[in-house]
């Protein structure tokens, strides 16, 4: 049985200028111990579909799906109380901007112990011990002292480690990482990716890596879903995606990588004609203006 199964997920936002379909019929599934990467540009609906799984979308969003199940259990029509029991415990998420996702008013220690208190029912001393162990696991030096620090006293990479520690604190079965390294330097990015990969293989979690960086995909994923304007364009294992991309959009994305440049000019997505593109003919960039 798959860990997470989604069939025909659509998310529509009510906006002043009418309904906007951000996710349009996405189906995917992920198994235990697997790393699935969801790739796409901004506006492709990759974050929104995962926020729908977490139930974190604002009330203007309408989520429909033929099936959305975690460990065989329906999570589309959960009551808020039931949802809170799963979210943050069995499914955890790491957000893109580490400094913005931590609460600046509380110490990082308080914030990590809050999750432990809610889901694990540990007493104060045990929570503290667990928090120190978690900080050690994600490679924060002087964990005991660091617990009493505020987010602004830490660097971006350190804050991301705190976020990861918080996400894995309740031993989730599925970890969703939404662009976990986009705001970080390449050397720090490497450390964070290595850390995530190690934790994933140690704990046998399923992991969904949302990214727009093809390099990150190549370094981490087992299987890849390519998303474009709310639709799934292609799904393949990582090697065949890079070796023999089937869809025109995937080919366009890969050839836009500067390291794959052959001539003087980089090909762009608008140089390729993309079948099934709802905005056929319109250039990717001009579509919004």
């Amino acid at each position: 049985m798959a860990l997470l199964e989604i069939e025909n997920l659509t998310v529509t936002f009510d906006t002043a200028s009418g309904p906007l379909r951000a996710v349009d019929g996405i189906s995917l599934s992920i198994d235990k111990g697997e790393i699935l990467a969801i790739v796409g540009e901004s506006g492709s609906g990759k974050s929104v579909s995962m926020l729908a799984v977490m139930g974190l979308l604002p009330w203007t969003a309408t989520v429909t799906a033929d099936r959305m199940a975690f460990e065989g259990r329906d999570i589309l029509n959960l009551s808020p109380t039931e949802r809170r029991r799963i979210i943050g415990k069995d499914i955890a998420m790491i957000f893109q901007e580490p400094i913005a996702s931590l609460n600046p008013c509380f110490t990082v220690g308080f914030q990590i112990e809050e999750a432990l208190k809610q889901h694990m029912g540990l007493d104060g001393a045990a929570r503290r011990k667990r928090a120190i162990a978690l900080f050690e696991a994600v490679g924060i030096p002087d964990p005991e002292e660091r617990l009493s620090h505020f987010p602004h006293q830490m660097s971006g990479g350190q804050c991301q480690r705190v976020m990861i520690a918080m996400a894995i604190s309740c031993e989730p079965k599925l970890l969703i990482a939404d662009e976990p390294t986009t705001a970080l330097d390449v050397t720090i990015q490497k450390q964070i990716l290595d850390l995530l990969m190690n934790l994933q293989s140690e704990q046998g979690m399923g992991m969904i890596m949302i990214t727009h960086n093809m390099g990150v995909v190549a370094e981490t994923a087992d299987r890849v879903v390519v998303q474009y304007k709310g639709k799934k364009m292609e799904e393949a294992d990582v090697l065949s995606l890079f070796e023999t991309p089937q869809h025109a959009y995937t080919r366009a994305l890969l050839s836009a990588l500067p390291e794959n440049a052959t001539g003087d000019r980089l090909p762009t997505v608008s140089d390729f004609s993309i079948e099934g593109d709802p905005y056929q003919g319109a250039k990717t960039e001009g579509a919004r203006a």
């Binding site: 370094e219 836009a256 003087d264 203006a289």
Partner: protein, 275 residues
Amino acid sequence: MSEVVLEARGIVRDYHVGGGLFGAGRTVHAVKGVDLKVEKGKTLAIVGESGCGKSTLARIITMIDAPTAGELFIDGEKVDIAARALSPEMRRKVQIVFQNPYGSLNPRQKIGDVLMEPLIINSDVPAAERRERAMTMLTKVGLQPEHFNRYPHMFSGGQRQRIAIARALMLNPRLLVLDEPVSALDLSVQAQVLNLLADLQDEFALTYVFISHDLSVVRYIADDVMVMYYGEAVEYGSRDAVFSDPQHSYTKTLFAATPRADVESIRKRLARKAA
């Protein structure tokens, strides 16, 4: 030998921080003696992680900030903004494009006004000609004349970066400093902006100082590469020399940390994982 547009010798920039009621302040050495030289029509890329002083160096080259020590020559002419104010002619020669296209455009200013403002401040071009030049520049950077009366929020990230580039080019600069111009953009939009920069360089014989932390972009666009680490230039040479034979251990770390997206390295990784 072709002409040298930008030359810097021993640029140092110190910042003094703290020094309040309790305890003395301390000095942060942001840039510690950097030498560089860029010829006309070439691109120098400066690579390094956040906090290594590359943006401070960019501010000094753009003559926004004065160096603590060292000499800066633009077109062979010595510049010292600490000693005397800059003439409009000098100001026109160097322009900058910032990293975040969402933050560097005034949300209450129409695109046309964004483009005409440098001309109002630094030249005495009459209004009709200002308008005409702004229109021409819009089409040069791949936008439409009807965008003239729109506001920045009506544009996507890539289009805004085009506007920022157009604004920098309004004064026909000799040298364009690009501070991480594509790091906030999506892959395909990044490719469009990089193509635009290459086209503009050919058309106007522009010289670029390109600041980035993305080595794949640097490899694509640069002629020369400088790697900065804690305010020092640890590696400086032609692109091919730096990429094929990095000398400093930090450069090697940087190369090792850059994710690889080729089939061969994916195969290796999968083989490691299976083992």
